[in-house]
């Protein structure tokens, strides 16, 4: 993937979908955890990985999720996460290293409804397995209000 020329390239992230993190996500999303799923339907490695489990890359970023915004040069206090779009080609595997390749794909400006200019930065993430097979594509839109 080629990054937007006005933004620094973002580092690839290597991460693993772990059982303990799936338990945490389940609790955070008011769902049953993997332990219950395993009891119902079989080995841990075969239970469905949640659709948004790709957020686990945040744990492998030195500054967590908030560093995504600051790495883009956006002001954390004036920025919000506006939208996320996920495309699923293959499930994220449990317990194997996944590489997340990130880039800034688009930067747009528009007028906000309450006045002031908004900067909208689009970040694309490709999740690939150890054989470089594309698993999931994610797009995030970050919106910064004018100061």
């Amino acid at each position: 993937m080629t990054s937007h020329p006005d933004f620094p390239s973002l580092q690839d992230v290597y991460f693993v979908v772990e059982r303990s993190k799936l338990e945490e996500l389940a609790r955070a999303w008011f769902d049953r955890g993997p332990a219950e799923a395993v009891a119902e339907s079989g080995p841990f490695e075969t239970i469905p990985v949640p659709l948004l489990a790709g957020v686990l890359i945040n744990h492998y970023l030195a500054g967590g999720a908030e560093s995504v915004v600051s790495d883009l040069g956006l002001d954390l206090e004036r920025s919000v996460h506006g939208e996320m779009i996920w495309e699923y080609l293959r499930p994220l595997p449990i317990g194997r290293v996944i590489r997340a390749v990130r880039r800034v794909s688009e930067v747009a400006k528009r007028q906000g409804r309450r006045g002031g200019e908004l900067t909208i930065v689009t970040v694309d993430v490709e999740y690939r397995d150890e054989n470089d097979v594309l698993l999931v594509v994610r797009r995030d839109l970050y919106i910064e209000r004018e100061s």
Binding site: F30, D31, N58, H59, L61, A65, I85, Y88, P91
Partner: protein, 141 residues
């Protein structure tokens, strides 16, 4: 979440509704739990002084909390593997004390392509929408 999954998926028709569900009232602990689970420790979501300093009346949940609630329920209804695309747009904050009501409805079925389109919403108890979403789901067995 106790959902009866749709079986078979090919039985989905326009107008079919995902079972409604509610979570909350959302507490600060729920937000902090989500921060820990998702690695999002932007203080605007758990430190009221920071939130007010940024012009908000109070802390509010990170979008991934309500996004995850929607996605989990969608996965329970149609399964995870059939979902080909999922978009979620955060249109309003979720505050501490809000109840999140999640709903979804089949908006289109393309029988030749064996695909269904599902509109997804999360709203506060007063009806104000906080997340608008859309999913494309394969109906192939």
């Amino acid at each position: 979440v106790k959902f009866e999954p749709v079986r078979p998926l090919s039985a989905l028709r326009v107008g079919d509704r995902m079972p409604d569900s509610r979570v909350g009232p959302i507490t600060l602990s729920d937000i902090v739990r989500c921060a820990g689970a998702t690695g999002d420790f932007n203080p605007i979501h758990h430190d009221a002084a920071v939130a007010r300093g940024c012009g908000y009346p109070d802390v509010f949940s990170m979008g991934i909390l309500q996004a995850g609630v929607i996605a989990v329920r969608l996965g329970r209804w149609v399964g995870v593997e059939p979902v080909r695309r999922l978009s979620l747009r955060f249109v309003a904050p979720v505050w501490v004390g809000d109840v999140i009501c999640v709903s979804g409805k089949v908006t289109a079925v393309d029988a030749p392509q064996a695909m269904a389109e599902i509109g997804l919403y999360a709203a506060r108890a007063d009806g104000d929408i906080v997340v608008k979403g859309h999913a494309s789901v394969s109906l192939r067995p």
